[in-house]
């Protein structure tokens, strides 16, 4: 197996600077801006549930493309590859270290779940997000491209714990994992098709890194973005019925 990567070594600008609390710098009118401003990043050591490493990857068969070109296109069109109804709003500067993006996800019952991410790392072959308190997951997700076995691969690798007991129950019952897996499978298919791959076939590997739960973190439920987004829904409906100006 030979992987290759070409990273700008020792470029301090590849990493974001530490922040105490997150701040969304720009958000379009259509976005619901909840559960991000004022939140801390939710480190892997602070989540509640089991720690999983999930790796989704797709071989970009039938096309010639460098890892750098894949990541450039991925960064430029990031949420366009997401399943319909889900959005990541990033500032005009794009996916850059330190930027905070606002996520609006479609949830059951027409609910829009509002949360976010911070871009903690970005170079020309990869970029990584970390999640805020209240997000479904505490952890880190890395998007990358690399060459292996005479081909180019695009990969999503998540190292994540459910952030609180409610999310953990959902994952144990299969809903959370199922929707997460379907989400990234669809994303990689869309990315592959966008790049010209005729029939992209993503694969997935799951590894349970830590089967224990961190009971001391059960209070994270206070920041649960799903619950808070649900409570905010009446305001969204009123705003739709009576738009400003």
């Amino acid at each position: 197996m030979s992987k290759s990567e070409n990273t700008p070594k020792n470029n301090p600008n590849s990493w974001a600077r530490p922040v105490d609390k997150l701040k969304v710098s720009e958000s379009p009118n259509e976005a619901i801006n909840l559960n991000v401003d004022g939140r801390k990043l939710s480190g892997l050591t602070h989540g509640f549930g089991q720690l999983w490493q999930k790796t989704y990857k797709v071989r970009l068969s039938g096309i010639e493309i460098t890892p750098q070109a894949v990541v450039e296109e991925w960064k430029a069109n990031f949420s366009k590859f997401w399943p319909q109804g889900n959005n990541l709003y990033v500032p005009l500067t794009g996916i850059q270290p330190g930027e905070v993006g606002l996520i609006n996800l479609s949830a059951p019952g027409g609910l829009k779940l509002s949360t976010g991410v911070m871009v903690i790392y970005a170079d020309d072959v990869s970029f990584s997000f970390m999640t805020p308190e209240g997000h479904m997951f505490a952890g880190m997700i890395t998007f990358s491209a690399y060459e292996e076995d005479d081909g180019t691969f695009a990969q999503v690798q998540a190292l994540i714990r459910a952030n609180d007991p409610v999310y953990e129950v959902s994952f144990r019952m299969g809903f959370g994992h199922k929707s997460e897996d379907a989400f990234w499978d669809a994303t990689l298919k869309n990315l592959g098709q966008h790049l010209g791959v005729a029939n992209p076939q993503p694969t997935q590997t799951n590894s349970l890194v830590d089967s224990r739960m961190q009971w001391a973190e059960w209070r994270n439920i206070w920041n649960n973005a799903g619950i808070r987004s649900g409570l905010y829904m009446p305001v969204v409906i009123v705003k739709k019925i009576f738009p400003r100006g």
């Binding site: 020792n10 990493w15 530490p18 050591t45 990869s126 990584s128 880190m140 190292l159 830590d210």
Partner: protein
């Protein structure tokens, strides 16, 4: 073009603690090397503290941070302390950014780290 560009060596000056000297790049490609060093340093789980020497660290990316998290989990499972020293200011900030500093104590140099080992 890079594959694993890391070398590690393990010192065991005392049955209570081991030191992993890390030289080079901590990226996703370093997994086998780092985990082998961790297993050696664990000494069949009898070592109580493992110190990571980052003095000769050249580069670390987000996949490398993921490896450190995995190492941290293994050490917690084995009831071992994980301590880091020799990190540059830049990488100390990255530990702060990812909140790893809340689980792995950081010291400037080896003597400071050794002084912090629980007796």
């Amino acid at each position: 073009m890079t594959q694993a560009n890391i070398s590690t060596s393990v010192r065991k000056p005392n049955p209570n603690y081991s030191i992993i000297d890390i030289q080079g790049e901590v990226t996703g490609f370093a997994e086998d090397n780092l985990m082998d060093a961790f297993s050696q340093a664990s000494n069949g789980k009898t070592t109580r503290t493992i110190l990571l020497n980052f003095t000769d660290l050249e580069y670390m990316n987000s996949s490398g941070i993921g490896l450190l998290v995995t190492m941290l989990i293994r050490s917690q499972r084995q009831k071992q302390n994980l301590i880091a020293f020799g990190l540059s200011r830049h990488y100390q900030e990255i530990f702060r950014l990812t909140r790893l500093n809340e689980a792995i104590s950081i010291y400037t140099d080896e003597s400071g780290a050794l002084a912090a080992i629980p007796s």
